[in-house]
Amino acid sequence: MNQRVSPWKLLLTNPITALSAAVLVVVAVIVVGAGALAPYGINDIDVPNALQGPGLTHWFGTDELGRDVLSRVLVAIQASMRIAVISVTFAAVVGVAIGLLAGYRGGWLDSVLMRVVDVMFAFPVLLLALAIVAILGPGVTTTTLAIGIVFTPIFARVARASTLSVRTEPYVAVSRTMGTGDGYILGHHVLPNISGPLIVQTSLSLAFATLSEAALSFLGLGIQPPQPSLGRMIFDSQGFVTMAWWMAVFPGAAIFVIVLAFNLLGDGLRDVLDPKQRTLIEARRAGRGR
């Protein structure tokens, strides 16, 4: 009965989670090997074959300059994901550190840190991006920085709120009576117990970061042409929607599928990382087996 199944194996027993994990594995493969996977160069202009529908030579069709949409989508996913992952990692690390410190220490430090976070929170992502563009000029760095900064306060708040409740738990008091240092308490008691909401927040943020990146590129503030980006591709397709639906649909579908997969994976992760839920899932599996 005590034969433990690893959380990762359990994760895959949920069909929806398994499907989203599979989608994200494909996305990861694309991120690593977009250049090799793309059947054509991203800027191979072929005007005689412009605006061709999806077919055997061009699976996702071609755009108004005859460029292969599939190749451009693949490379755009790579760029998008790079921005999303880097910016969310930045936001998570900085935000959780701020939240942990504020929630655990409390007092004036909490007040100061959280007011700073409030100010950051009040900044609209587009305005912030514009401000950074004014300094750095449009591009990948600008987008990453803007998204990272905008998402930091969300992580800080989630981490602080959970830390506040965990800090007063008796098992933390027990640990203190044993003479345990703050570092050990934060690492072994607080962090594991606030990880559930944080993981969910991370996957949600990855989804929203993908969307934000698309929006910034759509407005021309993000990835610059001739580099392809999902947002920019949708922008470019506007004039051709009636005659070449594939120009908008495939980049749009890519965004949709990625965002959805991150969201669903987050839910599955939360369940298997909580020992209580894990026992429940194990019990349910055992019940089905009988």
């Binding site: 005590n2 433990r4 738990e169 008796p170 098992y171 008091a173 027990v174 640990s175 203190r176 009576t177 044993m178 003479g179 345990t180 240092g181 050990y184 072994h188 008691h189 594991p192 117990n193 990880s195 909580d274 020992p275 209580k276 026992t279 019940g287």
Partner: protein, 532 residues
């Protein structure tokens, strides 16, 4: 005997393919009290909730019959939500264990009491209010007209439970279900609530179903007793028969587990040196009130000594400052004045974190839910570098588990997979891992079932003998204290009321307060047995 108010036959509850309640039949008549007794997980609450249509567990299937007499006669098993709404609050009143969470913190007492009156009786606002006033008076709340506008947080635990009873009785129900209504309360408050319910039962003629894990309490309230074990009614008899001629070994076990005044104390310890010396301890908290800051003196001028290898019982009700003493000794709070030294060294010294350890009250929240038992027990070993590497720690964890009567397989389990008693054993193993000189037990058995408490107390006594441990045993239950302690200190409002050797104190209690505490412990014989 008159016709039963509630008649339950062959009640079964299944969740998935597990049967939680297996064919229980019981009945309770007007002005009678049925006591349902059993350990946690025996299906007590499940039975009462299923019988009254209040069971709200996903996938639970209830079969059998539960008929509420009166006009109209109502079958409660499988009744529609509409029928149940008419019955709950109107014809059946409920009182639950936790008075802290069963009142809505955002509503005044008046609103909470008049709610069901307006819903079931169609009372006017004014009529409902005068009834609410009557009820608060009936349940013995001081200054009821001012209390109407109070919010729950302005009341003590005992007062909240009185309000819960007032709400339950608002519509003059035929049946009152009381699910462990006194378990979260102090013994003196428990005694008052028991008296209150009996008195109200006489006045209102209500039938009562009282659920408890403590046969001592059941003996004080019940006329008939149903003993539940693993969802089966193993014994059903009048209360006197259950106490005098228990037919089942399980009933016998529950009877023996009751903490009773007059139990033998621990073996005496000859001439031992003083280990802990507390002199003139003062702890003050700053409280923020609407009228500004004020200082609350939680502990005032407290002095006591504990000799090595002995137990000092620290007794008091909630709010008496007992836990503050523990917090001061473990450096969780700083005393405003006074000294506390262990072997001459101040307890705030860092080296003391190894020599003083503590077991907390709540076995559910004092273990980190995300860490295994092994990690919990190994924590003090890691912090104080007491074992060599991973393997040394694992070996020591195994030893400690065996010491507290658990098998080494428990090491890989998570807290939620353990029962309350098992968790408390893990907490004890964690506390003794550092081989402390002083072990502080802060109500460590108060939230356990009596039968589990009994076994944990045995374990603690055994550990004291084997390891020569010194205990500060904090509790509100004098019977438990008598069994564990060499000396006893009675604490009230932060001051020592009485501080003497246990034998003297229990033979001739000096202070009125000590006598009141003693009187509140449920006696060995049920109430109906007379003076015999």
């Amino acid at each position: 005997m008159s016709a039963p108010v509630l008649d339950v036959t062959d009640l079964r509850v299944r969740i998935g393919n597990r049967e939680i309640v297996g064919g229980v039949s019981l009945s309770v008549a007007r002005e009678q009290t049925l006591g349902i007794v059993g350990e946690s997980g025996s299906g007590k609450s499940m039975t009462a909730l299923a019988a009254t249509g209040l069971l709200d567990a996903p996938g639970a299937v209830v079969t059998g019959s539960a008929v509420l007499a009166g006009t109209p006669q109502t079958q409660l098993v499988g009744a529609s939500a509409r029928v149940l709404r008419g019955v709950h609050g109107g014809r059946i009143g409920f009182v639950f264990q936790d008075p802290g969470t069963s009142l809505n913190p955002l509503l005044t007492l008046e609103r909470q009491i008049t709610e069901s009156l307006e819903a079931h009786r169609g009372s006017t606002r004014r009529g409902a209010r005068s009834r609410a006033l009557e009820l608060l008076e009936a349940v013995g709340l001081p200054d009821p007209s001012a209390r109407l506008h109070s919010y729950p947080h302005q009341l003590s635990g005992g007062q909240r439970q009185r309000v819960m009873i007032a709400i339950a009785l608002a519509c003059d129900p035929e049946l009152l279900i009381a699910d462990e209504p006194t378990t979260a309360l102090d013994v003196t408050t428990q005694a008052q609530i028991i008296d209150l319910v009996r008195e109200l039962q006489r006045d209102f003629g209500t039938a009562v179903v009282w659920i408890s894990h403590d046969l001592g309490v059941i003996g004080q309230v019940a006329d008939q007793v149903t003993v539940l074990q693993a969802g089966e009614a193993v014994e059903q008899a009048p209360v006197l028969d259950v106490f005098d001629h228990p037919r089942q070994p399980y009933t016998r076990e529950l009877l023996d587990a009751r903490p009773l005044i007059g139990a033998d104390g621990p073996p005496p310890v000859e001439e031992a040196p003083v280990l802990l010396d507390v002199a003139g301890l003062d702890v003050t908290f700053t409280a923020e009130t609407p009228r500004g800051r004020s200082d609350v003196r939680a502990v005032q001028d407290l002095s006591f000594r504990i000799r090595r290898g002995t137990t000092l019982g620290l007794v008091g009700e909630s709010g008496s400052g007992k836990s503050t003493v523990a917090a001061a000794l473990t450096a969780l709070v700083r005393p405003a004045a006074g000294t506390a030294t262990l072997d001459g060294i101040d307890v705030a010294d860092r080296s003391m974190r190894r020599r003083i350890s503590m077991v907390f009250q709540d076995p559910f929240s004092s273990l980190n839910p995300r860490r295994t038992v092994a990690a919990a027990i190994a924590e003090p070993l890691r912090v104080h570098r007491l074992a060599d590497g991973k393997r040394g720690r694992a070996a020591r964890v195994g030893e400690l588990l065996e010491l507290v009567g658990l098998t080494p397989e428990f090491a890989s389990r998570y807290p939620h997979e353990l029962s309350g008693g098992q968790r408390q054993r893990v907490s004890i193993a964690r506390a003794v891992a550092v081989e402390p000189d002083l072990l502080i037990l802060d109500e460590s058995t108060a939230s356990l079932d009596v039968s589990v408490q009994d076994r944990v107390l045995d374990l603690l006594a055994e550990l004291q003998r084997e390891l020569g441990l010194t205990y500060l045993f904090i509790a509100h239950d004098l019977a438990v204290v008598q069994r564990m302690s060499h000396d006893v200190l009675v604490l009230r409002d932060g001051r020592a009321v009485e501080y003497r050797s246990a034998a003297e104190l229990f033979a001739h209690p000096d202070a009125d307060y000590t006598r009141a505490l003693l009187a509140a412990v449920p006696p060995a014989r049920p109430r109906g047995a007379g003076a015999a």
